[in-house]
């Protein structure tokens, strides 16, 4: 072969090789680290205190007391959740803007400080920042507060999402994942928290009182990267993020709505159609999710059993109809990270997925220890699993969140290395799991359940 041919062949080989290497070079999205917010202990809210807050509200009558107390007692929320300072101090009627800001700033800065320290990253290295706080909107935005406090770079890409509900953390991650495809070798931070104090409902509409019972202060900061050289330090690899929006369904759209009641008091109304909307959105999401994450044999098994079921159904025999076959998600997923929205939501999702007590334990314990911290709750659930040393290399984790609109978002993660950081659960993980429905309130407020009049000394 003469020189020209040889050189041409070598050139072709080099190009092919470089092309292949370039494609294989991992530009995947990795969760380097995450940190959850732990407010100071003086902000702990016991059920006794919750009762006091309800009793001191002059517009509530006996029916409303019963409703709220029943909700608190049956909520699965424990004695150590954290409330906003404005409500704890007796100022739930009205929270000044400065107070609302400081509540959020405490959550954001506290958590970010710890995240930067843990990950060994400097704020000026951050290329993308996404902050999501659903029920707070002000100029400058919370994302600008973060840039100001940490003196981040001028060319940082900042986004401030708002109004997107409890599923906003996965929406933020989806945004980052998309940006990572364009911007190589970047670092991103996602901050999720919620503004509880200014949104405390002080009226007497029952459908608007539930958020007071369930929502508590919390937050999370997540550090993501697509830099392949940081792969070995990462905790998780984000394999799939799926978003489902049921806004086109009018009932689903209105099931969670922020509005003013007839007296002009603002609050979040949870309609009775919420469970149905959640189920519909959940099913829609699962339909798209299952083929992408489950192993082939499970999909084949499911298609086969469905086929057989549909053929044998038309028998006309008098025997009891066989239960419809369902997909076994546990074949492709090792850990389920469910949004700690409330015991009903967790148990409902658990039942539809065929999960055991072990699987729903992290979500129920998060609800008990921290309450419903809105969009950041899935990170507390993940933290519980990590503190319990359940997460081993190669394990698959599936996160589910629900949000107003109505949205159901899911995130499929793979654990990169064995994890065991105690994080925000460090001090109390030994005392879990507990029976979360035993509540010191139950004995004291038995009269609520028995529909009797309150005792004289109350």
């Amino acid at each position: 072969m003469d020189l020209i041919t040889l050189s041409l062949v070598v050139l072709v080989a080099m190009f092919l090789l470089s092309f292949v290497i370039n494609r294989r070079r991992d530009q995947g999205c990795y969760v380097l680290n995450y940190e959850c917010y732990k407010p100071s202990d003086d902000r702990k809210v016991s059920t006794q205190f919750c009762g006091d807050i309800i009793f001191r509200n002059p517009v509530l009558g006996m029916n409303e007391y019963r409703f709220a107390l029943k909700a608190i007692v049956g909520s699965g929320i424990g004695e150590e959740t954290y409330g906003p300072r404005s409500v704890l101090g007796g100022g739930e009627d009205y929270t000044p803007l400065a107070e609302a800001r400081s509540e959020l700033a405490d959550a954001l800065f506290n958590t970010l400080d710890r995240l930067f320290a843990k990950a060994g990253v400097s704020p000026s290295e951050i290329d993308i920042l996404v902050v999501n706080i659903s029920m707070f909107s002000s100029s400058p935005s919370p994302s600008a507060w973060v840039v100001n406090r940490y003196k981040m770079r001028e060319d940082i890409k900042v986004f401030n999402l708002s109004g997107m509900g409890c599923s906003a953390t996965l929406i933020s991650m989806s945004l980052v994942q998309n940006l990572f495809k364009i911007h190589k070798n970047s670092l991103a931070v996602v901050l999720s928290t919620e503004s509880i104090g200014p949104n405390w409902y002080v009226g007497n509409e029952k459908s608007m009182m539930l958020p007071n019972v369930l929502f508590r202060c919390g937050g999370a900061a997540v550090l993501l990267t697509n830099n392949p050289s940081l792969k070995h330090k990462a905790k998780f690899k984000v394999k799939l993020l799926l978003r489902t929006h049921l806004g086109s369904n009018p009932e689903a759209f209105q099931c969670v709505e922020q509005k003013e009641d007839q007296m002009g008091r603002r609050g979040i109304q949870l309609n009775k159609t919420l469970p149905k909307a959640a189920t519909l959105a959940f099913i829609d999401n699962l339909k798209l999710l299952a083929p992408k994450i489950l192993p082939l044999r499970e999909l084949l098994r499911y298609s086969l059993t469905t086929f057989i079921h549909s053929k044998t159904r038309g028998d006309g025999s008098k025997s009891k109809p066989k239960p419809k076959p369902s997909v076994n998600f546990k074949t492709g997923v090792d850990h389920f990270c469910l949004h700690a929205g409330g015991t009903a939501v967790i148990n409902g999702v658990g039942k539809s997925l065929g999960l055991s007590n072990y699987d729903v334990e992290p979500a129920l314990m998060t609800l008990h220890r921290f309450g419903n911290t809105s969009s950041s709750s899935v990170w507390y659930v993940l933290g519980y699993m990590e503190a319990k040393k359940r997460l081993k290399k190669g394990d698959k984790v599936l996160m589910f969140t629900f949000g107003s609109g109505f949205k159901c978002n899911s995130c499929f993660l793979e654990v990169v290395r064995d994890l065991g950081d105690g994080n925000v659960w460090k001090e109390c993980i030994e005392t879990y799991p507990r029976d979360t429905l035993i509540n010191p309130f139950t004995e004291k407020y038995k009269w609520v359940f028995e529909d009797k009049a309150p005792p004289a000394n109350n």
Binding site: N148, V158, S162, G163, K181, S248, F253, F406
Partner: protein, 497 residues
Amino acid sequence: MPPPPLPEFSNSVKLKYVKLGYQYLVNHFLIFLLIPVIAVVALEVVRQGPEELLRLWRSLQLDLVQILCSAFLIVFVSTVYFMKKPRSIYLVDYALYKPPVTCRVPFATFMEHSRLNMSETKSVDFQMRILERSGLGEETCLPPANHYIPPRISMEASREEAELVMFSAVDTLMKKTKTKPKDFDILIVNCSMFSPTPSLSAMIINKYKMRSNIRSYNLSGMGCSAGLISIDLARDLLQTHPNSLALVISLEVITPSYYQGNQRAMLLPNCLFRMGGAAILLSNRRRDQWRAKYNLVHVVRTHKGADDKAFRCVYEEEDQEGHKGVSLSKDLMAIAGEALKSNITTIGPLVLPASEQLLFLFTLIGRKLINPKWKPYIPDFKQAFEHFCIHAGGRAVIDELQKNLQLSAEHVEASRMTLHRFGNTSSSSLWYELNYIEAKGRMKKGSRVWQIAFGSGFKCNSAVWKCNRTVSGPGSDSPWSDCIHRYPVHIPDVLKL
């Protein structure tokens, strides 16, 4: 009497031609280099004659392997080139909200409402003085809730205003571009001061029954520059999702932001902010190339939040009486100028022709090495752009930018006239300005447009568009269609009320 000295203008004319010649030479440098080479080769070819050339061709013995390899290389390299090229982003069209006549707030109405709503006459006088110097006209609009005395501010009213503005703009856009709601793949809504649950983006999905796998984002609190942040986000998303349509909605809901106190720094927004909104359709589909109005060339974002003064210069807070409002600091213009300088530092090299960049480089080197007293060279952006859309934040902003960028009155006419006719509509004002230029028939194919917006935080964002097809005049749906013939109007420095 000695003869008058040589008139200044002939010197300047000579300089002008020198400058023109220099610009032409530098910008077309490659051509000047190639022409002699091509000439020499052509001469050589003609001299050799066709038979010589044929003999040369036959002597090149290439066997099959070599031919295949070469062909493969050519195909491969061109494929990789086309794949790596970032997708072109097209602005197919956009639609603007035209407020109804019933929402108009002439000066007399505004002042009457101020007198009845405000507790202190000092504040009323202050508002009058601002209005006199604001550059606003008599046809700007406020939402229905603000027409009541006192204004009927409620969540319901804010939602109604949002629905009115968004649905109107989106309906017009879908009709103009013949798209159906199920065609949208990406939805981004930005509204700074109002963010309900469910979000405004969820409201749009609900009203138009969009697909359940739509990628929606609701940005909030990001100020008047949020429109360009949304465009930047849409561009990045369109790069990762082939064959998609993105709907970007920029609006500001004025209802909840009416300031009812007496702090001077917080009274300004009442006088300037008015109702408006825009819906923009972006696409990366090749088939939209023919009908698109503009191509998106660059988006550059600059965030000055690290500087405390810049961070505090547009700040929402409560005054001592508990009234919420946005306070504007006195340093606003200086900070805007600084932010613009930072933004220009990034965008300059991307858009300026080589001649300007070289001049800037020489003056920079000269100032550093030879004499620091040389005046810094401000690149001539008129070389890079035919049209400028400066956010109509207020008269002072437009004046400041006109001075900084050395623009003529015609360049800033779109901004001033938009401020006059529509007021400060926040993030959508850039689109009203673009529409003004189109309505005046000045938008020709190949024109380059520079949109600059400022926002709280403090941010300065720019977008560069290139016109894809000549726009002949205002469309029937344009908010300028009934009044463009009256513009431009002369806006006096102080309009005595």
